[in-house]
Symmetry: C2
Subunit: 202 residues, 2 copies
DNA sequence: TTTTTTGATTGACCTTTGTAAAAAAAGATG
DNA sequence: CATCTTTTTTTACAAAGGTCAATCAAAAAA
């Protein structure tokens, strides 16, 4: 299905209903208010959601497509997070600490997103207990993903780290360039390439 | 002050009030109920809160002392988390996913703790919006600490990782053996020892 | 205090991974 | 289709950090 065809099928109401079902249930009233304050974005591959240095007070839910958070270390592009359909992404440092973003966020595919501002997240969380719970659920899931990632980084070889990400994100190599995968797991593209050719041979 | 002297000074009510002030405000009613379901523990250095393989459905707040979460990889002891005064610790994998704990948790000093069970956390969070918010705050802080840790692990030398933990936990070397610090930052004790002797010389 | 245990340091050696540069392959664009 | 750009692979070489073993130091236990 083409992205522009989805817009009519995927109404904001439906999307919010999916979030409610998959993360934490929201009352109809809360869903309505969430629908009023959120915004659908249709963006092309390569477009940027956040630039380094910006105060980014937005969080994005990915309806279709995928996005990548990355930063520059000594001029080198290092990937810090990938998000696919049904996942959230934001510049967490900027969003939660209200400081300029160290990250860029860009789209790796043509994408459809739901955008929410921190101000609205906060007022919804104040007003609705169930939205507070939803926020907690999202943060908890993120925390558990990070936990998994940390333990995969501790005392694991480049090959083990690559195997690990493949097991979690089965088809990531089809959607994300190897350079980004390499920096995400903390190895160079060259090392990743050697691992892959070693595996092919066997 | 000796640990046994603290018990009379630090009533559960006072401790819960401190949590409320430092994490997220709780109503008096909620504080009372929290006080009813939580329990103070006085434990000696070396004692174990959680063993690998156990279902651990408890979370601990450290009033005095410090604790360490670690796991065994190929028989080797690898530290995964430290918690000091005013911080929470639990076997997060077991607590949030209801599966057997991959971690041990042990005390690095004689300690005073507040213990809370998941069942009680959940019912408090259901009943009180402000307790739900407190939970979110604790999880969010943990997530941000993990974020910091991940970026310190990505493409940083052993020395940079050591400097980084020293800047975050200024006096950690006074309270935690170097072996544990080394495995926490993902290097061997020998490498850490070399870094330290290099720094001493200069 | 002496002994035992645990934690930290040092040295020799070796493996893994990074660096730099070039070539090849795959994708995008006119 | 042909060209240009980006991504990936390959090679040679260097450096960082791991492993193993011996020694030293400090803290607990007897």
């Amino acid at each position: 299905m083409l992205l522009y065809e989805m817009q009519s099928l995927m109404t904001k109401e439906k999307i919010i209903n999916i979030i409610s079902d998959n993360y934490s249930k929201l009352t109809v009233e809360c869903q309505k208010e969430l629908s009023n304050v959120s915004k659908i974005l249709m963006l092309k591959k390569g477009e940027t959601l956040v630039k380094e240095g910006q105060h980014s007070d937005k969080i994005y839910f990915i309806i279709k497509g995928c996005a990548r958070a990355f930063y520059l270390k000594d001029g080198k592009d290092i990937s810090d997070w990938f998000a696919f359909e049904m996942e959230f992404i934001s510049s967490i440092i900027s969003f939660f600490l209200d400081i300029p973003s160290p990250h860029f966020i860009e789209l790796l595919e043509d994408s459809m997103l739901l955008e929410l501002s921190k101000k609205d997240v906060e007022s919804l969380a104040d007003k609705y207990h169930d939205f507070e719970r939803l926020s907690k659920t999202i943060v908890t899931k993120t925390m558990l993903q990070q936990q998994e990632r940390i333990s995969s980084m501790q005392f694991h070889s480049a090959e083990e780290k690559y195997e690990n990400i493949l097991s979690i994100r089965t088809n990531i190599t089809q959607r994300v360039p190897l350079t980004h995968i390499a920096s995400y797991i903390g190895i160079t593209l060259e090392t990743l390439s050697r691992i892959r050719s070693r595996k092919k041979r066997i």
